[in-house]
């Protein structure tokens, strides 16, 4: 496993695009949240944006879930690079098994999810410490949102990885990812929830299942009104759905890589 990580690190180390994109992510994420926390962006009190404990976990987590898309694109670029340079072949020729080449990328997704989560968690603590009147009294409350964020990262990055393995081209993969995430899934969600009353099936679409774990602060109440009478699913059911999807990305990618020519 160390050997797989070492090789992936060698590939990333000198890859400028990676450092620019993740650097922008790292800088813009706290700045973006600062515009709300500082009062620079007036929300008129209509939206309860809280940066004190425990609200900071869900609030910062929601905005961070948008920023995670950045890293999903980085995943697409890193995976499709192998096809672009045909180094996917070279890695095999030099002695990796297909499974090793595949698991190296799975480890990359896992590590990037972990690092993003730790980074977001660190800023949550900094913002929470700065804006809480009660100090760390409510520090641990709602902290499970950080775990939800980790699952969301695995879901986004895993989906990005699968698309890259299936499509093999970065532009196409990023395009399809955006069309799917921003447009198709929203239409599908609305349609399913409209057609199938009382079940909110649409909330359980692949990326949406994780989005539901970190909703826009007022969204839950708004949905409860919109879908009156429907039972609002528990977070645990979204966690289970997300884990199932993440496993599916793994299985589909694996099947594809073991069956096809390289």
């Amino acid at each position: 496993m160390n050997q797989l990580i070492k090789v992936e690190w060698f590939k990333i180390r000198g890859f400028v695009t990676f450092w620019i994109l993740t650097g922008l992510f790292a800088v813009l994420l706290p700045l973006f949240n600062y515009q709300f926390s500082s009062g620079m962006m007036q929300t008129g009190g209509a939206v309860p944006i809280s940066y004190s404990f425990p609200g900071v976990w869900s609030n910062f987590g929601f905005w961070a879930s948008w920023f995670a898309l950045f890293i999903a694109f980085v995943v697409i670029i890193l995976v499709t690079n192998e096809y672009r340079y045909r180094t996917n072949r070279q890695n095999i020729i030099d002695g990796w098994t297909r499974m090793q080449a595949f698991h190296a990328k799975c480890l990359l997704v896992l590590l990037l999810s972990l690092i993003t989560t730790i980074y977001v968690g660190t800023w949550c603590i900094i913002f929470g410490a700065a804006y809480s009147n009660t100090g760390f009294a409510f520090f641990t409350q709602d902290m499970e949102k950080l775990l939800y964020f980790f699952i969301l990262c695995l879901n986004y990055y895993g989906f990005a990885m699968m698309l890259s393995f299936l499509l093999r081209r970065s532009g196409l993969s990023i395009g399809i990812f955006m069309l799917y995430a921003f447009i198709f899934e929203n239409i599908a969600k609305a349609y399913l929830n409209w057609q199938i009353k009382g079940a909110l099936i649409g909330n359980f679409l692949p990326l949406q299942a994780s989005d539901e774990l970190l909703p826009f602060p007022l969204m839950k109440q708004a949905e409860a009104i919109a879908y009156k009478g429907a039972a609002m699913p528990e977070s645990s059911s979204y966690v289970i759905a997300s884990v199932i999807y993440i496993s599916l990305y793994y299985i589909i990618s694996r099947y594809r890589l073991l069956k096809s020519d390289w």
């Binding site: 050997q3 070492k6 090789v7 060698f10 590939k11 180390r13 000198g14 890859f15 400028v16 690079n81 340079y85 045909r86 180094t87 072949r89 070279q90 890695n91 095999i92 020729i93 030099d94 002695g95 990796w96 098994t97 297909r98 090793q100 069956k259 096809s260 020519d261 390289w262």
Partner: protein, 296 residues
């Protein structure tokens, strides 16, 4: 002992049959040339042997059945085009190879010296010329002193001096005991270095084995007479003659050895033909190869 045993390998792309039941052995210590015209399946075969392509049927064994990925770490390979991370330098690219092979990290400077890239070893791959890229690919194959070198068109993109260097390198490495498997359409190259060959055409194996056996010393004989059609008809009856055809004002044919010349002369005379031209020519590997791949 065979370092590689290939048994009945087939491969198809849709309806196109790329390889058709290929079997042969590569003996240890040989320089084994895989020959064939463009599109004959050479690269497809090598791709299968390196596990980047899936055969439709058949098996192959490296080093008497060593697991394929372990074997590949002991085989230095160059397949089709040099594949490297464009944004990394030669050294950093070779570090990746060494990490995958799990040996050879301290061999990087040596192999770059061998292919004369030391001066540019910290430049990005994307800044290299075609010849430099090819030389880096050869350095990559040499990394960590492999037991076997598998080279697909190793002299692609090199200038005449570079080609001669690679040829020397191959001979030198072979003398050190390294087995070399080399695909090429440059017959001149193959003739100079190979001890064994396999010839492919449209996915079929036409022949394989020792170079001298495979291209047994057949010579080309030219004969001429007043009535060329009559000469052609008469010689057609003589046993032991192959590939007879009229070429301009002479009849050309393949003969096994030089004693056939006297037989032909006598045979023609007995049939009332007086030859006005008779000459024996050594066949180049190229003309043998052309004949072989054209006739089948």
């Amino acid at each position: 002992m065979a370092v590689l045993t290939i048994d009945n390998i087939s491969k198809s792309y849709g309806t196109i049959q790329a390889l058709n039941g290929i079997s042969f052995d590569v003996p240890e210590g040989s320089v084994f040339g895989v020959l064939g015209p463009n599109g004959s399946g050479k690269t497809t075969l090598l791709g299968i042997l390196l596990d980047v392509l899936q055969p439709r049927g058949g098996t192959f064994r490296w080093f008497n059945g060593m697991p394929h990925n372990e074997a590949r770490r002991q085989v230095g390979s160059l397949l089709e085009t040099p594949n490297f991370y464009h944004y990394l330098s030669a050294v950093k690219n070779l570090q990746i190879t060494a990490a995958i092979k799990q040996h050879g990290a301290n061999d990087i400077d040596r192999v770059l010296e061998v292919v004369r890239l030391s001066g540019r070893k910290h430049s990005k791959f994307s800044t290299y010329s075609l010849g430099m890229k090819q030389r880096l690919a050869i350095a990559n194959a040499l990394l960590g002193n492999p037991r076997v070198l598998l080279l697909d068109e190793p002299t692609n993109g090199l200038d005449p001096e570079g080609i001669a260097e690679i040829r020397e390198l191959i001979i030198q490495l072979n003398q050190q005991g390294i087995t070399i498997i080399m695909a090429s359409h440059l017959l001149d190259e193959v003739e100079k270095v190979c001890t064994h060959v396999a010839v492919l055409k449209k996915g079929d194996l036409l022949l394989s084995g020792d170079v001298k056996e495979a291209f047994r010393n057949e010579d080309l004989l030219e004969a001429g007479a007043e009535d060329i059609q009559q000469l052609y008809a008469v010689l057609g009856q003589l046993p032991g003659i192959k590939g007879i055809h009229i070429a301009g004002n002479v009849v050309r044919m393949s003969v096994k050895d030089q004693s056939a010349v006297a037989d032909i002369n006598r045979f023609c005379f007995e049939h009332g033909i007086v030859l006005n031209h008779l000459s024996l020519k050594k066949k180049s590997l190229e003309s043998k190869f052309m004949e072989l791949t054209r006739n089948n």
